[in-house]
């Protein structure tokens, strides 16, 4: 918001008289080379349970960094919080667990700072695909450290949906009209684009996140056709869980978290990754540009990426670690969970998952700047849902 205010001369004069925290203060000049003493506190913006006491309590004891958490319900909310108070986390927040649909927005908006991955010992153990993914590494510079990921799966009610679906077409057809649900998130356009990529190759879609105007229009019209088939767009995981449990919804797009919660509640559901592949989300702990406690932040990033902690977090939330060494720990905590969460898959598995990244105008595949950016995606999504 300070960007807007600087245009007002009068406002600037008043600001000079009052004490305004100057923007840009913080570890913004080059990355640190070692982690100093903890500052005693750590303020995070997170997906709920990303700093769950079951694994965060030991961290607080070890380092003395007391965690204050702000739970966000959506990527939009995370971005808005990071941008408030003048941007860069407002001088309030240190870390944000941004998903791929938010991370590039934060990087280009100048709200996060580069991170020295050499200070995170477990980073070397990560699966190669998560060391420098396109959604958090720009021009070779790391803007955070990957933490966990999950696929966007097709969840269905095993009693009412027969035979078991094998294609994403199931949520675009009128067979289950009025009983379908998909997430309320502009990035869902990529799911439609992925479906079109495989079923209508003539459109020439090479990357579901890099769409030209006509490709975006095709995806939008597919989503508009889908809208009357939907029961609703779900906004949080618990929405989808209660909808499946209550029988309001029989089939839809979701995450392994929902499936596991539903199975624990004895609901007859199963999930699958259809033949077209799937999109996936991968979360990154990013360091705010104006983080007031950078040392505690680095300590946390180093702590939570250790294999045994990754395993704990994976089972608490319902997601997959980026550190394959977590596999035995997961199996110790819950038998067979390593395989259930696809952590033991070969690297070829990951090529079927198209990870979220914020759409930008630059097209990697056609070397031009004519792709639609997130602004255009948001407008298109509002057209669909409005």
């Amino acid at each position: 918001m300070i960007r807007i205010k600087r245009a007002h001369v009068l406002a600037a004069v008043v600001a000079a008289a009052l004490c305004v925290p100057a923007a840009g203060i913080g570890a913004g000049h080059g990355v640190p080379t070692k982690v100093g003493k903890g500052e005693g506190a750590l303020n995070v913006i997170e997906w709920a349970a990303y700093t769950d006491p079951s694994f965060a309590k030991a961290f607080q004891k070890q380092t003395g960094c007391v965690i204050h958490r702000k739970d966000a319900g959506s990527s939009n909310e995370m971005v808005a919080l990071m941008r408030s108070g003048g941007g860069g986390g407002g001088g309030q927040y240190d870390l944000v667990s941004a998903s791929g649909d938010a991370s590039l927005r934060l990087i280009y908006g100048g709200d996060v700072q580069p991170v020295n991955v050499n200070l995170i010992p477990s980073w070397k153990q990560f699966l190669p695909i998560f060391k420098s993914p396109a959604h958090n590494t720009v021009g070779g510079v790391h803007y955070g450290v990957s933490v966990q990921w999950g696929p966007n799966t097709l969840i269905y009610n095993t009693k009412s949906v027969k035979p078991a679906p094998t294609t994403w077409g199931a949520i675009y057809s009128s067979k289950y009209k009025g009983k379908i649900t998909v997430p309320n998130n502009p990035i869902q356009i990529a799911d439609a684009a992925l479906y079109l990529m495989k079923t209508q190759p003539k459109l020439g879609i090479k990357d579901p996140y890099e769409l030209t105007k006509s490709q975006l229009d095709s995806a939008t019209s597919l989503l508009k056709k889908q809208k009357p088939l939907l029961k609703r767009y779900w906004n949080s995981a618990t929405d989808e869980i209660s909808d499946f449990k209550n029988g309001d919804v029989l089939i839809g797009a979701g995450w392994p978290y929902q499936t596991l919660q539903l199975k624990a509640a004895k609901a007859p559901v199963a999930e699958t990754i259809p033949r077209e592949g799937a999109t996936g989300w991968a979360d990154t702990w990013m360091l705010a540009k104006r983080a007031p406690h950078p040392n505690c932040a680095y300590k946390w990033m180093a702590y939570v990426t250790q294999p045994q902690i990754e395993a704990k977090q994976a089972l608490v939330f319902g997601e997959t670690p980026v550190n394959p060494k977590a596999c035995p720990y997961m199996n110790k905590l819950q038998k067979g969970s390593c395989a259930a969460y696809h952590l033991n898959q070969p690297l070829s598995y990951y090529s079927t998952i198209h990870f979220w990244k914020t759409p930008v105008a630059k097209c990697g595949w056609q070397k031009s700047d004519s792709c639609m950016d997130y602004n255009a995606w948001q407008q298109a999504w509002t057209q669909v849902t409005g």
């Binding site: 918001m1 205010k5 709920a48 408030s84 949080s236 618990t238």
Partner: protein
Amino acid sequence: METRATRIGLATWSVLVILFLWIPLVIIAIYAFNSSNVQSWPIPGWTFHWFRVAWHNDDARNSLLLSVKVGAATTGIAIVLGTMAATAIARFNFFGRESVSFLLVLPIALPGIITGMALNSFYVFAGLGFSMWTIVIGHATFCVVIVYNNVLARLRRSSTSLLEASSDLGADGWQTFWFVVWPVLSVALVAGGLLAFALSFDEVVVTTFTAGAQQTLPIFILDNLRQGQQLPIINVVAFVVIVLTVFPVALAQRLTQDTGVIRRGGTAAVVAKEA
């Protein structure tokens, strides 16, 4: 005055409306004892488990306490500012009178997110650190209008001659306030204050942008709604809060018990009562 049929009809309607208001609350109370953490109907089993969990949950207790503090501060500010503004509008005619109503209604009429962002940028601008008081200021902006509207509606229906009569009879400022102004205004103030407290107690959007690391009760509830694993805790919290607030609300109602005197006997009764 009303016919018997009218009276029965009104009583029936009232019962139905009260049922409409309360059945969902009863359902919330039932869910507080739900043995599953997924909300379905009918509930699979009964348990006190969530009460124990909620009791031991520090966040639940701290957020409840913070909400009470914020609500009290906000209501105090809203009552003072709202009454002053309503009195000025009701009693005096001056240029720009209607715009005051309009300005006061804005915080409620605009999406909370706009109020939140506007206040957030103001706080940064003024160098104010986020604290309980930034939340209170945010809440006060939309709570003032509630007291203001209630007091204004009440003042419109009362007449200044009561105040004149009181002075003519020799009452000083305090006596006039206690025996004339307070009975007239008390219902509106108490009702307005209760509504303002309720709105502040329950507010989540503006609070997200005006709170730092502070967690008020609605924010705690929203977090738990999203996470879902401990969903029944919020039903427990809601149930406990309803039970606890019976006392202050009943008390507030008693304070405004006696104001029917003006209605029943006409203006002469006011003087007779105080003789």
